[in-house]
Structures are given as structure tokens and as C-alpha cells.
Amino acid sequence: MNRDARTKEFYILAAFFALFVLFLYGPLSAIVILSFQGPDGGLTFPLNGVSLHWFYNLFETQAVGDFGASFRRSFTLGLMVTVTNVVVALLAGLAFRNRFRGSTALFYLTVASLVVPSIIISLGIGVVFQQFGLRPAWYSSGFGAHLTWTLPFGVLIMLAVFNRFSPAYEEAARDLGATPWQTFRHVVLPMIAPSLIGVGLFGFTLSYDEFARTLMTSGTYNTLPLEIYAMTTNVTTPVLYALGTVTTLFSFTVILLTVAVILLLRRRQAKLS
């Protein structure tokens, strides 16, 4: 804006922003602190001693639900969704660069998939599997349900990326005699790599935390969010907070790693150009 001294407006808004950040992180940090309660600590402050008791408790299967197995399922599902998401969204993004008959309809279908309430999709897929005599499972019906939520995000991101993508690079590559595949592999792909990683991360985190669309589609075995949801109704010890701390730390790690990779790629590109 203006390069002069900070105005009063700035300080008011900065204070507001700081409050917003506190509002976002305050409750989270409360459960992180509380998950280190002593063995006879309760669900609220003050801390009764400091221990790792509840973390040990979390990894004993009989104390709470089967946390380890549901984490593995969520993690595997997240990876499946990530890979599918990146590939399908990239292809769709490339397709949308050409006006083809029905492209507008497909675009609105994609947006509709975001807008339609999750619980309706959950119910619909559940009923489809039931009526067709298929057994719902997290890796089939659950996987599909997740894609209806993550793919539209991926496609919209790719659309935004290709809208800002100058065709001059590809023309230059073609003029220099590159085949279409070489143009894509050596020109387009490196330029959109950070966005693709972003799509992948987004897909993973959305899937890893997805709850409403998994409710009717996961079959016999719970994913992690379903496990946590079940715990909220019957667990009244800080083990719940320990679980929250572990999954939140996991999410943070995934996000930070992704950001690091994106920054690295950008830096390499800056060096190349």
C-alpha cells in the first residue's frame, strides 16, 4: 500500500489478526499441554503432574479402540487418494485447456461434487453398494467417497494453474523440435510440479481427516477420524488428548515436509532460469 509510517488502521488490524491466530491455536495448544497430564489427571486444567502416561495408554489396544490399525488404514487410504488425485486432476486440467463438447457440464459436475452435502454422498454410496450387493470397505466405497471430496479441489487448483500458464513455453519447445511427450515431460511438468505437490498434500490431508463421507462407506473397519469420533462419546480420560496431539503432530509434519519440498523445487527453478 503506502510506504510511509504504519497507520492506526494497521495496528488495529494486526491486533485483530493476532487474536484470530490465538483463536485458531489456543484450544489446540490446550489439548497438547493437557495430554501430558499425570496418571490421575483429568480433562481440564490444572495439570496433575507431568507424564507420558496417556501416550503409553494410547498404544495399549485394550484401553481405547484399535488406534494403530485405524491409523494405518487412514494413512494407506490417504496415499491412495493422493496418487489418484494428482494423476486425475492433472489429466483433467490438461483436458480443460481445450474446449471440448461438454467441458462446461463436466466443470459444473465437479463443483457440484464439492457443494453437495457430504452426508448425502455417504448415504448414496452406501445405498448403491448395498443394492448392488457389494460389500462397502474403506479401500473401495470409502476411497470413492473421499475422491468426490478431494478431486474437485484438485481440479480447481489445476484449472487455476493452467489459466495462468503461458502457452509460449510449449510453442518454443515445439519450435525446437520437441515431441508432445518431451514438451510435457521437460517443460510443462517441471513448471507445475509445485502445484501438483500442493494438490497431493491437499488430497492427503483432506482424506486423512475426512469423516462425514466415510461414515456410511467405510464398511467394517474404522478409519482414524471414525475411531476418534467413537472415542468422543465413550472415552473420558486425557488419552483422547494424547490421540489429538499425535494426529495433529502428524498433520503438521506432513504439511511442513510438503512446504519444504515446494520451496526446494522453487529454488531449483530459480537457479535454472
Partner: protein, 302 residues
């Protein structure tokens, strides 16, 4: 992907044409996976719900039929109307709060942070919590708002209230607070995006013409930020209208929402009744989205 070899290709002898398929065919092939996934997991289930909503059922199973019973049951019951009213209340409150908070946060990031690096860093700070588990973020309010929670103990220690305030947790207040907590980012991101695209010279021009800060905000920034607000509103409205977990966890089972009503019917295996509710909810949500879309053309905004 030209079918005719360009001069450059003829010169280099690079005239092998493996992929000389026409452009439209390539585009179709590229769009096919998306179409198949959405067709099988989105279009088919929705059609199935519409079909099943006319079926008959009892405790033993579903019977294909063509009855309007499920609709007359749901629309003829005052519980449904009350639940809709309650859901609308949550939606309106959450929408208004996220819009105001989201706009000012985005405004601060777009107009008051001077370096792009800092902008991105602060934006990331806002984003990270939204990528963590929703349910954990709901639960995290319990030690803050509970009877012996942080807020209550602070209020008592300061002598503001004599005994703990009960309505902080397991109440409509808690539901709306959690919804704002969970969904504000959906407002911040699109609004931030549109604000960043505003040509700064427009603001300069407004100032040069003697506009005050508020006038610039009201006549230049707000109208230009409308598309972002509309996109954010679509997200927040659809998410809150369809929410059941936040309502269930944060109201302690004392409040209802349309989706929660559906979920209870599903757990009783009353699929046709749930399906009829789903169709009604779907129509309501799509009407709301259509109303918001009158403000913005999404494709132009990408």
C-alpha cells in the same frame, strides 16, 4: 498436437507422429478418469437416493415402490421444520461471523503486509490448523469452555462471575463458535485471492480523487472483493447446512440439524426416509448456492 508437420519438424526430420490424434479426442481421453469417478461415486449415488426416496421400508428391509409417503412424512412433521429453522440459524450466524472475520484477516494480509514472503508465511499460519482433524479441533474446546475450563476459571479468579458459566460448552453458542473455528479459512482464502488481484492503482486513484479510507473500502475494495466473498460463502453455507458432527459434539446432543436427523434415520436403517430428507436438503442447498452464484461467475474467478 498439430496433424500437419511444422517447418521445424521437417527440417529436423522429426516427423514421427505417434500422437497425431485430434485435439478433441485427446481432451476426452484426459477427462475420462474424472468423469468415470464422478459418474460412479457421485452421479449414480445421487440418482439412487432419488429412487430410494420413493421406496417403502420396514425393520426388515427396503421394498421398491413408488410412494410419496417418505416426503409427506418428512414435510408434514413439525420436527422437520423446526430442525430446518435451527440449521438455518446456525448457517446464518456462522456465515455472518466467518464473512466478517475472514474479510478483515484477508484485508490485513493483502494490504498491510508488505513482503510476499511474509504474506505467504502468515497465510500458512492461518492454513495449518485447517489441515488437521476437525473432530480433534472440536474436542480441543472442551478444556477451554468446560465448567472448570480455562475461560470459567479465569472469569472466577477475576471476580467477574461468582460461579461457572454453564452455556459456554454444550450449547448453541459452542456449536457456532466451533463452526466459525472450523470454517473461517474457507472465507479467508478466496477473499485474499481476490484482494491480491485488485489493481493497486485503483486505490491510488480513489485517494487522489479525495476519497477517505472508508470510502475507498466501501466503494472500491468491497465491490471488487465480492466474487471472493461469494465463493467463500458457498463453502461455508454448504458445509454448515450439511453439518452433523459439530452439532452433535458441541451441543452435547441437545441441538439438532438436518444432517443429524438424517444420520439418526440411517443408523436405524430407515434409508428411504433418510433419502427423502436428503433430496429435500439437496434442493435447499442447491437453491442457496444458485442464489449466491448470481453474484459471481466461478469460471472467471479461477
Amino acid at each position: 498436437m498439430t496433424v500437419v508437420a511444422s517447418p521445424a519438424e521437417i527440417e529436423t526430420g522429426n516427423t514421427r507422429r505417434f500422437l497425431a490424434a485430434p485435439r478433441w479426442l485427446i481432451a476426452y481421453l484426459q477427462a475420462t478418469p474424472l468423469l468415470l469417478i464422478l459418474g460412479f461415486f457421485f452421479v449414480l449415488p445421487i440418482l439412487m437416493i432419488i429412487v430410494v426416496s420413493f421406496w417403502d421400508y420396514d425393520f426388515a428391509g427396503l421394498y421398491p415402490d413408488f410412494l410419496a409417503m417418505n416426503y409427506t412424512d418428512t414435510l408434514g412433521s413439525w420436527v422437520t421444520w423446526k430442525t430446518y429453522l435451527n440449521t438455518m440459524k446456525f448457517t446464518a450466524l456462522t456465515w455472518a461471523l466467518t464473512l466478517v472475520i475472514g474479510f478483515w484477516v484477508a484485508y490485513f494480509l493483502a494490504f498491510h503486509i508488505r513482503t510476499t514472503t511474509m504474506q505467504m508465511a502468515l497465510f500458512l499460519v492461518c492454513t495449518v490448523p485447517f489441515l488437521t482433524s476437525n473432530i480433534i479441533r472440536m474436542i480441543s474446546w472442551i478444556p477451554v469452555l468446560g465448567r472448570n475450563g480455562l475461560v470459567n476459571s479465569t472469569l472466577i479468579e477475576l471476580g467477574i462471575v461468582p460461579e461457572p458459566v454453564d452455556w459456554l460448552l454444550y450449547s448453541d453458542f459452542a456449536v457456532v463458535l466451533a463452526m466459525v473455528h472450523l470454517n473461517t479459512l474457507f472465507m479467508v482464502t478466496p477473499i485474499f485471492n481476490t484482494l491480491m488481484r485488485i489493481d493497486r492503482s485503483l486505490i491510488e486513484a480513489a485517494r487522489d480523487c479525495g476519497a477517505s479510507g472508508w470510502q475507498v473500502l466501501w466503494n472500491v475494495v468491497l465491490p471488487l472483493a465480492k466474487p471472493g466473498m461469494a465463493i467463500g460463502s458457498i463453502f461455508v453455507v454448504t458445509l454448515v447446512m450439511a453439518d452433523f458432527s459439530t452439532v452433535q459434539v458441541m451441543s452435547g446432543g441437545q441441538s439438532a440439524s438436518v444432517a443429524l436427523m438424517m444420520k439418526n434415520q440411517m443408523s436405524l436403517l430407515q434409508y428411504p426416509a433418510a433419502a427423502a430428507n436428503a433430496v429435500v436438503l439437496l434442493i435447499v442447498v442447491l437453491l442457496m448456492v444458485a442464489a449466491i452464484l448470481r453474484v459471481v461467475d466461478i469460471r472467471r474467478e479461477l
